[in-house]
């Protein structure tokens, strides 16, 4: 080494460093410019990602927050002794609670006699209300024979209406004196002034809107040039002509349909829904019975408009009238939806909860973690520190790296073939889910752990060997603790990945509709992402907010899990 001569440098003259010429100045300026440019790119990228994250999160929160609240009707429920048979536990459990809830509603909104009215009334409450009441009474049998105020769960449609997915309601105070012709059935309400002129104008505008939308459809049909559309075109043309004619004609009487805003008259403690409207009076059906046919003075009656047409909302006018009546009685309360966290899935949105999926996820993660961490770390330590470097270990290493990139559904199929079909483990359980996810996460943990072990300075191991520690002691006492934060990071990434995984779990049957909250590893269970997937697929609009709510719960679960892991990591780090 020392005998070797330096490479020949003959004929090479080093140039002086040039910092003053204009070319040099330009070079320096270009260098700064490129630095600024790069910094700007970084900031732009950051702003874009932050914007997307904020948009995404705020949208989910906006949609999801309603899922955490639920409207109840607080009604006085009377529990006559005779409804409970012998009054013992069997009698209490076996009693029919549906008539009790129905009676409570009828007390709050009396005078509904028509069958359709009654049906709409009972449909206000959730189908689970009776069962919830049963639980209350079973827990507190002393209530039997008394009348008490009980919060009764409202159905999803009523709940959604109260959460603002219904209609805007405007009230007009008329100037004239109104006279109703009856208290129930079909009645007319006439007024001494032109009190309905404004509403009539609203209806005419709506007619015009309808005509316009029909024209759009007509245009589309005509452009398509399909012969089969000819009858529909004729039909539409006639309809448009009629709508335009009605809209252009001043005054007169309009027949109201479900496609038009609903006009109602609040009078003498009752509510009349107009079917025919003229400037000075309406003909309509009584929704809530009137107390009398007495004349109503100007301040004593109202004209109410439900702006959204009945056909374009989920709740009909009758239900809106009931809800508004309950609301005006102060019987509607909006409370935190504890139920969402205490029950499993249900086909009824207001009864559906996240607990089943939450526990399913927790159990699955538990199985994954207790399998993955020891196996992954042990494999990493063996491969990194003990394994001989030969073709076999090279092959294993390449395969582990490849496994990390295998689509997760393949692991699901593997789980299906091996765990379910070959080993015969129970289907849709947290145990099998955890096993499958462990397969998925294992490569990630092994790779991260190996990288962490490799990054420990070899001097630490040498120092331990130098004082007479065996290889195993050196690794477990010194190398592993130093590598632990890195291993934890890998584990966090892997577990977060597993928590959000859906596809492989579909393969092993965790997609099933499972109502019960899983109590053990071998109970049928589902997990949060699958629950989100299931709810997102349902047509009921109330499940939309449940979906977003479940996403919020999943994110919270993730944050808690990661927070815990980061805390653990910090503790490991602090020891050094």
């Amino acid at each position: 080494m020392t005998d070797m001569s330096a490479p020949s440098a003959a004929g090479f003259k080093p140039r002086r460093l040039d910092t003053t010429s204009s070319a040099a100045q330009a070079r320096i300026r270009a260098r700064y410019r490129s630095e600024y440019r790069f910094r700007a790119y970084g900031i732009i990228a950051l702003v874009i990602t932050t914007t997307f994250v904020v948009l995404l999160l705020s949208d989910i929160v906006r949609r999801g927050v309603p899922a955490f609240f639920q409207h109840n009707a607080v009604l006085s429920v009377s529990l006559p002794k005779e409804a409970f048979g012998a009054g013992d536990a069997v009698g209490i459990k076996g009693a029919d609670y549906f008539p009790i809830t129905k009676a409570a509603l009828q007390t709050a909104i009396p005078g509904i006699e028509s069958r359709s009215g009654e049906r709409a009334l009972t449909r206000l409450l959730s189908s689970g209300t009776a069962d919830i009441l049963r639980e209350t009474i079973v827990a507190d049998p002393k209530l039997i024979g008394t009348t008490f105020k009980a919060p009764l769960l409202l159905g999803a449609d009523a709940d959604l209406y109260l959460k603002g997915e219904g209609t805007a309601i405007t009230k007009d105070v008329p100037r004239g004196i109104a006279t109703p012709s009856g208290t129930t059935g079909e009645v007319t309400v006439l007024t001494s002034s032109n009190d309905f002129a404004e509403e009539l104008a609203v209806i005419k505008r709506s007619l015009l809107d309808l005509a316009r939308s029909s024209e759009l459809e007509l245009g589309r049909l005509k452009r398509s040039g399909d012969k089969a559309n000819a009858p529909r075109i004729v039909e539409l043309e006639a309809e448009i002509a009629d709508l335009r004619k009605r809209a252009d004609e001043p005054g007169g009487q309009e027949v109201l349909t479900s496609k038009l805003p609903s006009i109602l008259v609040e009078i003498n403690g009752g509510l009349v829904k107009a079917t025919k409207l003229s400037a000075t009076g309406i003909t309509g059906d009584v929704l809530l019975p009137l107390s009398s046919v007495a004349e109503a003075q100007p301040a004593k009656w109202n004209v109410v408009t439900y702006t959204t047409a009945e056909s374009s909302r989920k709740v009909d006018d009758l239900t809106v009238a009931y809800i508004e009546r309950l609301k005006s009685q102060g019987a509607i309360e909006n409370v935190f939806n504890w139920r969402f966290f205490s029950v499993g899935d249900s086909r009824e949105p207001e009864l559906a909860g996240i607990r089943g999926a939450l526990l399913g996820s927790a159990l699955t993660m538990f199985v994954t973690l207790i399998l993955c961490l020891p196996i992954g770390v042990a494999a990493a330590i063996y491969l990194e520190e003990f394994a001989p470097k030969n073709r076999l270990t090279d092959l294993i290493e390449v395969n582990i790296n490849n496994l990390a990139a295998v689509p997760s559904i393949v692991f699901g199929l593997l789980g299906l073939a091996v765990f379910l079909n070959y080993f015969g483990f129970p289907r849709s359980t947290a145990l099998v889910g955890g096993l499958v996810l462990a397969l998925l996460v294992l490569p990630t943990i092994i790779i991260a752990s190996r990288a962490a072990l490799r990054s420990v300075p070899p001097s630490i191991k040498e120092a331990a060997l130098g004082v007479g520690a065996s290889k195993q002691q050196a690794i477990f006492h010194h190398v592993l603790p130093v590598a632990m934060p890195g291993i934890m990071t890998g584990t966090i990434i892997g577990m977060a990945h597993a928590l959000g995984e859906t596809a492989p779990l579909l393969m092993i049957g965790m997609i099933a509709f499972i109502v019960d909250v899983p109590g053990s590893l071998v109970d049928a269970a589902t997990v949060l992402p699958v629950q989100i997937f299931l709810w997102a697929d349902l047509p009921e609009p109330a499940f939309k907010s449940k979906t977003a709510g479940a996403i919020m719960v999943l994110l919270a679960f993730l944050f808690v899990m990661n927070g815990l892991a980061i805390w653990l990591r910090k503790r490991f780090e602090r020891r050094w």
């Binding site: 080494m1 020392t2 005998d3 001989p388 470097k389 300075p457 001097s459 630490i460 040498e462 120092a463 331990a464 060997l465 130098g466 004082v467 007479g468 520690a469 065996s470 290889k471 002691q473 006492h477 010194h478 603790p481 130093v482 020891r575 050094w576």
Partner: protein
């Protein structure tokens, strides 16, 4: 490189100039050869190292002095491509004997590395680790005594006695190196190997470590690899000069530095090579 190696390997290897004093040697190497794969890193090295003295290995980079040092506690075993032939005895026991437990050997032969490498643990733990894994202390008090005695011997006690629970990595470089020496002597080794222990230290820290080495000579057999000939002259009683895998010359330090017998030694110590 390879060409040079083969040419030197075919030449007759210079035998040690000096016949070691019989009976007094602690470590004895005979015809030690080390191969890293195809590379013949150490060629027929035979040397005797006396007890209770300091022996220094000098020579240009890559000459094999560290390799030989790491043979004495079989640290080279951790390198899979490394192969050692020949014989190294400590107290006339062959340390490459298959029945010998390498972990026990390393407890008898302590080592101090080029870069201070305290464990990322407290100062106390750093020293207590060795005695603990070897079961040298029956209880906590004994362990504490060992730790304090080791710190005392390493001359570190005054500086760290109030901060034993603080991390060892928080000490200055020189203190860290003395901590490493304290850690090595805590398991009461017979031989201490030092691989350029001062190359990462400033002159003041170096002086302290050298002072310490001089004191430790009373109780241990110390072998030190160094690039500083002044250091070798200051701390060691005997010196061995390695060149291209050969042990060129070995003898009392004063003799090597004042009257080298081999031209290569002379060239090296006068600064013409290296």
């Amino acid at each position: 490189m390879d060409a040079m190696n083969t040419t030197t390997a075919t030449q007759p290897v210079a035998s040690p100039m000096h016949a070691p004093a019989a009976g007094a040697s602690k470590v004895m190497g005979r015809d030690v050869n080390v191969y890293f794969g195809d590379k013949h890193a150490l060629k027929n090295v035979s040397v005797d190292i006396p007890d209770r003295s300091v022996m220094s290995f000098i020579g240009p980079s890559g000459c094999g002095k560290s390799t030989f040092l790491r043979c004495i506690n079989r640290m080279n075993d951790t390198i899979s491509i490394c192969r050692v032939t020949g014989k190294i005895n400590i107290d006339s026991q062959d340390i490459y004997d298959s029945s010998l437990d390498v972990v026990q050997l390393r407890a008898r032969v302590g080592m101090v590395f080029q870069k201070p490498n305290p464990f990322p643990k407290s100062i106390f733990e750093n020293i207590a680790y060795g005695p603990r894994i070897h079961g040298m202390a029956k209880n906590k008090d004994e362990l504490e005594q060992i730790v304090m005695a080791s710190l005392e011997k390493a001359g570190l006690i005054k500086e760290v006695k109030d901060r034993l629970q603080e991390p060892g990595t928080g000490l200055s470089g020189g203190q860290q190196q003395r901590l490493c020496i304290a850690r090595a002597i805590a398991v009461s080794p017979e031989v201490i190997l030092m691989d350029e222990p001062c190359s990462a230290l400033d002159p003041i820290a170096t002086a302290k470590v050298e002072e310490l080495i001089d004191e430790l000579r009373e109780n241990f057999c110390i072998i030190i690899v160094t690039h500083s000939m002044q250091q070798a002259a200051r701390v060691s009683q005997r010196t061995a000069f390695f060149h291209l895998g050969n042990l060129v010359e070995e003898g009392p330090t004063t003799e090597i530095f004042t009257n080298p017998k081999d031209k290569r030694t002379q060239d090296y110590i006068t600064g013409r090579t290296g």
